[in-house]
């Protein structure tokens, strides 16, 4: 295919893919009456950005939602790594009775989507009065069999000499995990971190179950609440809220595009 034609086709498709973003931002700058009057105009006649974004910032606890999202994703990632890195190391480098069983459990766990244990987890959290807390958002996702699998694969290629030398220096296995193995596993850790944060930041299913009301709402829930409770037909304000909530991850992606793509494609390869 001629390269000019190819570029033209890509540009047309790219524009099509960007349309929701373009219209979202455009609508967030328009006044309501203009949205109804001239739906096709991209640039607003009268700039209503201050009205729309002002309304969102006044009525929506944006900072709270973003903070909740940050606490949830940070908490989940911390425990996932805390549990998965030592387990991955042990499965890759140590011999112990029951190792095959543990690995079998990991492989079995990979087959079960997170939606399956959700009902009993909800019952347990509701029984213990933990619903609507950060713990409710974080705890169920702290174990990632996928992370264990990923780190096991990664640690298998770690040279045995390196570990042997550390042992001769008198390091215990736990010290080897955090001070020798982990520093060599940054590519796997970053890839997994991006995968995990993107998945949980965007997730609606579990936060919808685990919380009610605004106090512990994540960005996804925040948009949902604003849309159903307050925005009504005020599409300008709704699109402003969507723009604000979409921005953090999109900006992070644009800044570290290569890492995001690598992170999600290498981890996706087994997830």
């Amino acid at each position: 295919m001629a390269s000019g034609l190819r570029l033209l086709l890509l540009a047309a498709l790219g524009l099509l893919f960007m349309a929701p973003y373009i219209w979202m931002v455009s609508a967030s700058l328009k006044a309501t009456d203009e949205l109804f009057r001239a739906p096709m105009a991209l640039l607003p006649e009268g700039w209503a950005a201050i009205t729309n974004y002002g309304r969102v910032l006044r009525e929506v606890p944006v900072a709270l939602y973003l903070w909740n999202g940050l606490v949830m994703c940070g908490g989940i990632l911390f425990f996932q790594l805390l549990f998965a890195i030592p387990a991955g190391y042990a499965l890759a480098k140590l011999r112990f009775v029951g190792r095959e069983w543990v690995f079998g459990a990991v492989m079995l766990g990979l087959l079960v989507p997170a939606h399956v244990p959700a009902l009993p987890l909800y019952v347990a959290l509701s029984g213990s009065g933990w619903l609507n807390t950060y713990a409710a958002l974080i705890v169920p996702s702290t174990i990632s069999v996928f992370a264990i699998f990923l780190f096991r694969q990664f640690f298998r290629s770690l040279p045995q000499d390196l570990i042997h030398a550390a042992r001769l220096d008198g390091m215990g296995e736990a010290a080897i995990v955090w001070r020798v193995a982990l520093p060599n596993a940054w590519p796997a850790a970053t890839a997994f971190a991006i995968f995990s944060v993107v998945a949980h930041w965007n997730d609606l299913f579990w936060p919808l179950i685990a919380t009610t009301g605004h106090a512990r709402a994540t960005p996804a829930l925040g948009v949902l609440y604003f849309r159903t409770e307050e925005a009504g037909d005020d599409f300008g304000a709704l699109m402003a809220a969507c723009t604000i909530m979409t921005a953090p991850l999109v900006l992070a992606f644009l800044l570290a595009q290569r890492r995001f793509v690598e992170g999600i494609s290498t981890t996706g390869l087994k997830g």
Binding site: R6, L10, L13, G14, F17, A19, P20, W23, M24, A27, F36, P39, M40, F83, A87, A90, L94, R95, F96, R99, V102, A105, G109, L111, V112, P113, H115, V116, P117, L119, P120, S126, V139, P140, T142, I143, V145, G172, E173, W201, N202, F205, L208, A220, V223, R227, L238, M239, C242, T243, M245, T246, L249, V250, F253, Q257, F260, V261, I264, G268
Partner: protein, 295 residues
Amino acid sequence: MREGGSRGEALAGWLLTAPAALAFLLLLLAPTLAAIALAFSDYELGQWPPAWIGLDNFRELWMDRGFRTSFVNTLVYVGIVAPVSVLGGLGLALLIEGAARGRTFFRAVFFLPVVSLTVAMAAAWQYLLHPTIGPVNAALRLLGITGPAWLSSSDTVLLSLAAIGVWEGVGFNMVLFMAGLTAIPRELREAALVDGAQRGWDRFRLVTWPLLGPTTLFVVTISLVRSVRVFDTVAVLTRGGPNKASEVLLYTMYTEGFTFLRLGYSAAITLVFLAIVLALMLLQTRVLDRRVHYG
């Protein structure tokens, strides 16, 4: 290599796996088994103890027209989203791979929906597809066509949700195919050229496609599994409506379990969902054993 199985090594192995094993048992294994058990009970939240009712929940599912609609809708949704996003991903990957410039740029453009907040983008789509003030119908009006009420008519709602699903997932498949394409040695395509495969299509058919086999199989499976899990767009945009026209498995499971608090019945739906996911994975390993050509 160390000679295996010293005591200290075994102890370290157990200690290092213990936290993960404990979390696995408490947060994954036990609740999954509990969900399976619940599916054979009449448990409703606040009503204790539940009674064992055997297969009654599944019998009720079988007779439940709402559930059947939900099941069929899910199949239709998967039947559209998976093939279109696989072929679309492959097409985009081939287009970008062969582009003279702008590869990183275009990759970013098509990948952006994968990392965007689904709920917010669903709302943006709702505005785009709005019957009166939406730009899509406004554009159609310019062409003299009266566009449908995309998300509120039972004829088009599933199709609209599927379009959003494709938009959201195709970039992910594209990236996986791009990784697969870079793994194909350039010499092979050149050799095919020397051997007389002059047209691009022949080289694709004879070299690229067979060598992409494992990637394609993986992309197909992951697209199927991802699209069976459709929930966010339905929960935000349609809540299964109008008249159950966009009711899908996970959303039905959610409303039965967390709105009507019929946990036993909801667990039965969860098992149907799990069975579908497992069947799709089994299909992958079966095909993997037989057909796929490894380069």
